[in-house]
C-alpha cells in the first residue's frame, strides 16, 4: 500500500530517513515521495541521507522558548533578540512536550503549508513517525496528528519509539502521555520498544541506527508488500484494504518477523525440477516445505516483537509471506495462518503473500493489531505517575507566592472566551514578541489542545494555587478553554527560565 510519512523530532526524522533508504534498497516504492519531517532543532536534519532537504521543515525557530541556532538570513530582526534571551544549552524544545505542542500550534500555518507538499489522494494512509518521549515528537506530533486527522479522510497511523529504561523519567512521562494522546486520535499506533531492542552494553544513542533498520525492515515488509517493480500478480496478495482492516480496531500494534534461506542447494533444485517434470508428484520434500513454512510463521510469532506483548491479547492479525512464490507451499501457508488463529485466539487473521521471484529468503511478517496486554506500557505509566507526583510535590514546596498570581491569571483568563483576544491580555511572564507570536499564529486554530496542555504545565511547572496532588485532573475537568493557551506559554516560559 501507499503511505505518506511525517517524521517529527529527531527520532522521527531518523526513522523516516531510514524508511526511505529501505525503500530504495528493497525497490519497494511505497511513499512515492510523499514525505515530510518536522523538527524544532535542525540537528537530526544534518544526519539524513535520503530525506530531501526541502522536505525538512524547521519550526519554532522564531519562538522565544525554543533553543535554536538562527540562520543568519532567517526571519525578522526581533526573532534574534527573542531567542537570544532565552537560549539554553539543549536544542529544540528541550524535551518539553507542552512547549512542543505550543510551538506547533503557533506554527500551524507553516505546518499546513508544508502539508501541501504531500498528496493525500495518492496514498492509502498517512503515518506520523516520532519518538514518544521527545518534546518535539510527542508535543509537535500530537498537534500534527490532530491536524492530519481533521484534514484527511484516510487513516492516520503513528509509528514511534518508546524510551528505554535508562532514559530520564521525564522522557518516560512524556511517552506515557504520548500514548494517552496518540491512541484515541490515531487509527492505530505502532510503538517500538527501544528498551527491548537495545543492548545494555552500548549507549542507546549509538544503537539508534540498528534499531531503526530493524523497524524499517518490518515496516516495509508490512506496508510496502507488493509495491516492488515489476509487480508480480500474486494469488493471495495482500490488499491495502486488508492491512487497513486489520489496523482499523485501533489501539497499539506490534510486529513480529522471521526469515529463512530458500533452499538453493543442488538437491533442492533437483527436487523441484523433478516435480516440474511431473517425475515426482508428492515428494516428501514438499511435505517438509509445508512444515518449514509453518515453522517460519511460528518463529515470527515467537520472535522479539517491535512491542513485546501477550499475543493472546491481540484483536486482529495479519501475516505476509514474502519470497519466491514457487518456494512457498500452499499448505504451509494455510497451516501457518491457522496456527496464528490458534495461538492468538482471534478469528480475524488475514494472510497474504508477496511474490519476490528472485529473493534468496522467505520472510514472515506478522502484525498483531490492538494488543492490550503490554507490560512496557504499564511500566512507563508507573514511572510517569511517580515522576509527576514528585514534580507536583516539588512545585508545591518551591513557590507559594506566585501561585496566587497564577491562580488569578487562570481566573481572569477564563472570563475571556475568544482566542483572538488573548494577545491583548497582559500576562506577567510574557515578552511582547511572544504575544505577537501567539496572535500571529492563531488564525483559527483549535483551542482545545491547549486546555489540557495548560493543565499539565500547571501541575508540573507553574506554581499554581491548587497545584497539589491530583489537581491536574481536576483542572482539566473544568477545562478553561481559550485562554489556557496564554497560560501554557507562561508555564513554558517559566520552566525554561527556571532552567537558567
Amino acid at each position: 500500500m501507499k503511505l505518506s510519512l511525517f517524521g517529527v523530532g529527531d527520532a522521527g526524522t531518523r526513522l523516516v530517513d531510514k524508511l526511505l533508504q529501505a525503500e530504495v534498497e528493497t525497490g519497494r516504492n511505497f511513499t512515492d515521495g510523499n514525505v515530510l519531517a518536522f523538527n524544532t532543532a535542525a540537528e537530526a536534519f544534518g544526519e539524513t541521507d535520503t530525506l530531501p532537504e526541502e522536505r525538512q521543515i524547521l519550526i519554532g525557530d522564531t519562538h522565544s522558548a525554543v533553543n535554536q541556532y538562527v540562520e543568519p538570513d532567517a526571519d525578522g530582526p526581533d526573532t534574534d533578540t527573542a531567542s537570544a534571551t532565552s537560549r539554553d544549552h539543549s536544542p529544540g524544545v528541550a524535551g518539553d512536550p507542552e512547549l512542543g505542542a505550543e510551538v506547533a500550534d503557533d506554527e500551524l500555518p507553516e505546518i499546513r503549508r508544508a502539508l501541501d507538499l504531500v498528496d493525500d489522494t495518492e496514498v492509502d494512509a498517512a503515518m506520523v513517525v516520532a519518538g514518544f518521549g521527545g518534546g518535539t515528537g510527542c508535543g509537535v506530533g500530537s498537534v500534527l496528528l490532530e491536524e492530519l486527522k481533521s484534514i484527511y479522510e484516510i487513516p492516520v497511523y503513528v509509528l514511534g519509539a518508546l524510551p528505554a529504561a535508562d532514559e530520564s523519567d521525564e522522557r518516560a512521562h512524556t511517552a506515557a502521555r504520548a500514548v494517552r494522546t496518540f491512541v484515541p486520535l490515531a487509527d492505530a499506533v505502532l510503538p517500538v520498544d527501544n528498551d527491548a531492542w537495545a543492548r545494555s552494553t552500548q549507549p542507546l544513542t549509538e544503537q539508534y541506527d540498528e534499531i531503526n533498520e530493524m523497524v524499517a525492515t518490518r515496516m516495509l515488509s508490512l506496508f510496502a508488500a507488493g509495491e516492488s517493480d515489476p509487480a508480480t500478480v500474486s494469488e493471495m496478495r495482500i490488499d491495502p484494504a486488508d492491512v487497513m482492516r486489520t489496523l482499523a480496531v485501533g489501539g497499539l500494534s506490534s510486529i513480529g518477523h522471521a526469515s529463512i534461506e530458500v533452499d538453493t542447494s543442488d538437491e533442492g533444485l533437483l527436487a523441484r525440477l523433478m516435480q516440474l517434470l511431473g517425475l515426482a508428484e508428492e515428494t516428501p520434500d514438499t511435505q517438509t516445505d509445508a512444515a518449514t513454512i509453518k515453522r517460519l510463521v511460528r518463529s515470527a510469532l515467537n520472535s522479539k516483537l517491535t512491542l513485546p506483548c501477550d499475543i493472546e491479547s491481540t484483536d486482529r492479525v495479519l501475516v505476509i509471506l514474502s519470497g519466491p512464490p514457487s518456494d512457498i507451499s500452499r499448505k504451509g501457508f494455510e497451516t501457518g495462518r491457522y496456527l496464528l488463529e490458534e495461538e492468538t485466539g482471534t478469528v480475524e487473521v488475514l494472510a497474504g503473500d508477496e511474490p519476490l521471484p528472485n529473493a534468496s529468503e522467505i520472510t514472515a511478517t506478522v502484525l498483531f493489531s490492538n494488543v492490550t496486554d503490554v507490560p512496557r506500557i504499564d511500566e512507563l505509566q508507573e514511572r510517569a505517575v511517580a515522576y509527576q507526583r514528585e514534580q507536583d510535590a516539588d512545585t508545591a514546596v518551591i513557590d507559594t507566592a506566585t501561585s496566587i498570581e497564577g491562580a488569578t491569571a487562570v481566573a481572569a483568563d477564563a472570563s475571556t472566551a475568544a482566542p483572538d483576544d488573548e494577545s491583548d491580555h497582559p500576562f506577567e511572564f510574557h515578552g511582547t514578541e511572544e504575544q505577537q507570536e501567539n496572535g500571529d499564529a492563531h488564525g483559527g486554530d483549535t483551542v482545545s489542545p491547549d486546555a489540557d496542555a495548560s493543565d499539565e504545565s500547571t501541575a508540573t511547572d507553574t506554581p499554581d494555587g491548587d497545584a497539589t496532588d491530583g489537581s491536574a485532573a481536576d483542572t482539566s475537568a473544568d477545562s478553561d478553554t481559550a485562554t489556557e493557551d496564554g497560560d501554557a506559554t507562561t508555564a513554558a516560559a517559566t520552566s525554561s527560565d527556571e532552567h537558567e
Binding site: 494517552r180 482471534t346 487473521v349 511474490p355 499539565e456
Partner: protein, 390 residues
C-alpha cells in the same frame, strides 16, 4: 443451455474466466455473456477471457475500498454493491436476456467482495429478469479460519434464499498437498470449470442432428428448480477421434469389438462420477433430484448403458426423479459423464463451516464488547493522573 455469467470478487472472476477458457477449448458455446465485478482493481486485471469492457470496478469511491478490495469485510462488499447498483444494472443493458436461458453468479464465499456483493447482485437480477438465477459458490477451507467461515455461512444463507439453485464447491475437498502458492487455485478452478461447463452446456444446440436422447436445457432447469444446494460429480474417459485417418479405421474396429462391454462402460463411468470427488461432498441419498449428462461422441453412448446407469443412480439417490440424456459432441476425444445432484441436504462440510462460523461470531462479539474498554484501560494509568497533550 445458454448462460449469462457473472463473477463477483476474485475467486468468482477467476472461475468464470476458466469456464470461458474450457468452453473455447472444447468448442462449446455456453457463456453468451460474461461479466466480472470486483472491488479490487488488480484482481480485475487477472481474467484472460473476459473483455475489458465487461469488467466492473465497484467501490472505487468508498472510503474503505478505494479500488483495493474490502479486506474480507462482507458488510462493505454488500454496501458497495448496493450503492452502485445502478452501475451494475446498466452493464446488463446490452445483455439480450431472451437469448439466454439462465444467469449464473459465481463467487468465493470466504472473502468480502464475493460473499457480500454477490447476493446483492443476485437480488437485483431476480427483480430484473424472469430467467432463473443460479449461484456457484466456493466454500473456504477450514484453515482459512473463522472469519472466512463466518462470511461463508452468512453468504450461503443469502445465496440459497435468493438463487434458484446453488452449486457448491468445497475448496478443502479439492486441496492437494504439493501445491505452492504460485500454483494457487489453478488446478481446482479448471476442475470446477470442466464440471460446470460440461453440465450446463448440454442442450445448447437447438437445430439438431441430436435426436431424442439429447438432454434439453429445460431438463436441466427442471432438475435445478427445486432449489437448495447442489453438487456435481464427473468422470471421463478417452475415446479415439474419428478423423485420425488410418488409425481411426483401426480404432473403429476396436470400438465395435468392445460394443458388448459398452453398457458396462457407461454405467461404470457414472458410478465413478458419483463416487469420486464431488464438487461438494455429500450424502448422495439426500438429493431431491438428479440428472446425468453424457457428453461425447454419440457412437460411444450405449442406450443400454444409459438406462442401467440411470437405474443405478435412482437407487443411489433414493429418488425416481433422475433424468439422463446426451450432449452429443461428435468430434470430442473424450466421453464424460456429469451428474448433478440437486438439493442435497446432507453436506458435512457446510455443517462444519456453520459450526466454525458460530464460534467465530462469538469470539468477534466478545472482542467487540471489550475493545474500547481494554484500549482505554491500557492507555490510562491506574488513577488517571496522566493527561493527554492535546
Amino acid at each position: 443451455m445458454k448462460l449469462a455469467t457473472i463473477g463477483v470478487g476474485n475467486a468468482g472472476s477467476k472461475v468464470i474466466d476458466r469456464m470461458v477458457e474450457f468452453e473455447q477449448a472444447t468448442g462449446r458455446d455456453l457463456c453468451r455473456h460474461t461479466l466480472v465485478i470486483n472491488t479490487a482493481r488488480t484482481d480485475l486485471a487477472k481474467p484472460e477471457h473476459v473483455p475489458e469492457d465487461r469488467r466492473l470496478l465497484i467501490g472505487e469511491t468508498h472510503q474503505k475500498a478505494k479500488g483495493h478490495g474490502v479486506g474480507g469485510d462482507a458488510a462493505i462488499g454488500a454496501e458497495v454493491a448496493q450503492t452502485e447498483i445502478d452501475d451494475i444494472r446498466r452493464i446488463f443493458d446490452d445483455v439480450e436476456i431472451h437469448e439466454v436461458d439462465a444467469i449464473l453468479v459465481a463467487a468465493g464465499l470466504g472473502g468480502g467482495t464475493g460473499s457480500g456483493a454477490a447476493p446483492v447482485v443476485i437480488e437485483e437480477l431476480q427483480k430484473m429478469y424472469d430467467e432463473p438465477v443460479y449461484g456457484l459458490g466456493m466454500l473456504p477451507g477450514k484453515y482459512e479460519g473463522g472469519r472466512p467461515a463466518l462470511n461463508a455461512a452468512r453468504s450461503l444463507q443469502s445465496f440459497v434464499n435468493k438463487v434458484d439453485n446453488f452449486i457448491a464447491f468445497d475448496n478443502d475437498a479439492w486441496r492437494s498437498r504439493g501445491q505452492t502458492i504460485e500454483e494457487g487455485y489453478e488446478d481446482m478452478n479448471r476442475e470446477l470449470a470442466t464440471r460446470i461447463v460440461t453440465l450446463l452446456a448440454a442442450g445448447e444446440v437447438d437445430e439438431s442432428e441430436v435426436g431424442e436422447n439429447a438432454m434439453d436445457s429445460s431438463d436441466i432447469m427442471r432438475t435445478m428448480e427445486v432449489g437448495g444446494v447442489s453438487s456435481i460429480g464427473y468422470a471421463s474417459t478417452g475415446v479415439d477421434t474419428p478423423d485420425d485417418g488410418l488409425l481411426s479405421r483401426f480404432s473403429e474396429e476396436e470400438v465395435s469389438n468392445m460394443e458388448s462391454t459398452d453398457a458396462a462402460k457407461i454405467k461404470g463411468l457414472v458410478r465413478r462420477a458419483v463416487n469420486s470427488r464431488l464438487t461438494v461432498p455429500c450424502d448422495v441419498a439426500s438429493a431431491e433430484r438428479a440428472l446425468i449428462i453424457f457428453a461425447g461422441p454419440p457412437s460411444e453412448i450405449s442406450r443400454k448403458g444409459v438406462e442401467s446407469a440411470r437405474d443405478w443412480l435412482e437407487q443411489e439417490t433414493e429418488t425416481v426423479d433422475v433424468l439422463a440424456g446426451d450432449d452429443p459432441r461428435t468430434d470430442s476425444d473424450t466421453l464424460a459423464a456429469v451428474v448433478l445432484l440437486s438439493n442435497v441436504t446432507d453436506t458435512p462440510r457446510i455443517k462444519e463451516i456453520q459450526d466454525q462460523a458460530v464460534d467465530a461470531q462469538d469470539t468477534i462479539q466478545q472482542q467487540e464488547a471489550v475493545r474500547e474498554e481494554e484500549i482505554e484501560s491500557l492507555i490510562t494509568d491506574d488513577d488517571n493522573d496522566l493527561d493527554p497533550i492535546v
